[in-house]
């Protein structure tokens, strides 16, 4: 098994990276570090796709000029062009999601003064209880 893993070392590295990213996502309490974990998982996916598209000893999928004019369109000369397109899509979506998540985190920080998700939730509950207490107080006043 180890030999096969060494043969597929790019894919193995991608899998381990995605595991690291997932652990980060689950265990970190800091929101920025959670987002970094998400980005590590994204990177693992790109690495896996790029490794799947590679073929030993072939050129990038940009047509090469043939000797007697014209273009070499023999498919045995070029690597797989499809993973490049897929990775492009992945990068764009990851950039968008990261920016959106960071913006939300920034607002959360401005509101609660902390990046720790537990502390923020605690403050959120406190504020909710305050509001509920005020509402019940107001109701009692009205009834009285």
């Amino acid at each position: 098994m180890l030999e096969k893993l060494l043969l597929n070392h790019y894919e193995a590295a991608a899998v381990i990276l995605s595991g690291i990213g997932l652990t980060n996502l689950l265990l970190q309490r800091n929101l920025i570090k959670k987002i970094i974990g998400l980005n590590i998982m994204d990177t693992a996916v790109y690495l896996f796709l790029a490794a799947k598209g590679y073929v030993e000893g072939r050129a990038a999928p940009i047509l090469i000029q043939a000797e007697g004019g014209g273009w070499v369109t023999n498919p045995d000369v070029y690597v797989n062009p499809v993973p490049a397109g897929l990775v492009l899509t992945g990068i764009v979506v990851s950039v968008s999601v990261t920016a959106f998540a960071l913006a939300l985190t920034l607002r959360l920080y401005e509101h609660y003064g902390t990046l720790n998700i537990d502390e923020a939730l605690m403050k959120m509950t406190e504020q909710q209880e305050d509001i509920e207490a005020k509402i019940s107080q107001a109701e009692e006043d009205v009834l009285a």
Binding site: K4, V15, T73, G85, F100
Partner: protein, 328 residues
């Protein structure tokens, strides 16, 4: 005489310092004896522990130990989950076909089809550009829309509230000591750095030209709208850092971003819609394919690349400006 004067001065001094004579009927309270550690009353929670029913005991125990137990369990389970997942995936990876082998199932007839006919059908020398901007152009349109939507959402989340708060005061950023909530001040001014300005004035034209080359040669060489747009946005970010956001604001503001990006998206959608309509219905299309290898070739790929480049450059600069200044 001397003794009397001294006594007067002393009483005057005492009067100034507030140490008046002690009242005659003053009662000095006796100090309570120090409490011995084992006589301290236990907390109410624990006091009736032995009298409580089993259910009450359980709820008390949960209240005291529950959160700690949960966090330990949570960490343990998540680490276990990750280890199991990684080992399962590694077992799968071990069964995958060897890396870089030409007989891999990923290198199938789809790739043959793209490489053999891609150049003739799309007119693009770069097969990836032909793939993402001709065969799968609607997918790329969706990507550009996602990017644009993300920029607009960040603008909504960060822009509106800050613009209001910036007008009010001119205090620097401070933390409220009690709640720890950030009181936002005006945006951080850029430092007028002569070295940065000198380097920027030399490198910004080169970076801009490089970005344009990458965008315009998207169908001939590696690159294209996304990478070229990212290079263009770095030039804008460098300019903002060297000369201040006000200078960049003069020619690239929020309004410019919205107008240019929406126009680019509209041009993309309309031209690609026309191309798909004529192609799917075997109508005569007015868009020529050109000869492979020329700049003006590959039909719609060049204008689409420019559209995507505009969107990406605006969006990435917008992210930077919004996160650092709260404004575009």
């Amino acid at each position: 005489m001397n003794e009397e004067l001294k006594a007067v001065w002393a009483s005057f001094f005492n009067w100034v310092m507030g140490n008046g004579p002690r009242p005659e009927n003053e009662v000095i309270p006796a100090e309570p004896p120090p409490a011995l550690p084992f006589t301290q009353k236990p907390k109410d929670k624990y006091s009736r522990f032995h009298e409580a029913t089993l259910k009450e005991r359980y709820s008390q125990w949960l209240e005291i130990h529950g959160l700690h137990l949960f966090s330990v369990l949570y960490s343990g389970v998540s680490v276990l989950l990750c280890i199991v997942l990684v080992s399962l995936l590694l077992a799968t990876v071990a069964e995958l076909p060897p890396f870089g082998h030409e007989r891999n199932p990923a290198n199938n007839e789809v790739i043959e089809r793209y490489v053999k006919h891609g150049g003739r059908e799309t007119g693009a020398q770069n097969i990836v550009a032909g793939l993402i901007l001709d065969y799968r152009a609607f997918d790329t349109f969706g990507e550009s829309s996602v990017l644009f939507t993300a920029a607009v959402s960040v603008l909504m989340i960060l822009g509106a509230s800050r613009r209001n708060s910036l007008k009010d005061d001119s205090k620097p950023h401070t933390h409220d000591p009690e709640s720890g909530i950030l009181q936002r001040g005006p945006p951080l001014m850029h430092h007028d750095d002569a070295i940065l300005r000198g380097v920027a004035s030399l490198s910004i034209p080169v970076i801009l030209m490089m970005g344009c080359v990458v965008v315009i040669n998207g169908h001939l060489s590696p690159g294209g709208g996304f990478s070229g747009g990212a290079i263009l946005s770095t030039a804008l970010i460098l300019a903002a850092n060297a000369y201040g956001f006000g200078k960049v604001h003069a020619f690239f503001s929020e309004r410019t971003f919205i107008v240019s990006s929406s126009t680019a998206l509209m041009i993309y959608a309309l031209s690609k819609g026309y191309s798909f309509f004529t192609g799917a219905n075997h109508l005569h299309s007015i868009i020529p394919k050109g000869t492979i290898g020329n700049i003006l070739s590959a039909g719609l790929i060049l204008p689409l690349d420019i559209c995507v480049g505009l969107i990406v450059a605006g969006t990435l600069y917008g992210f930077y400006a919004l996160f650092s200044e709260g404004d575009m």
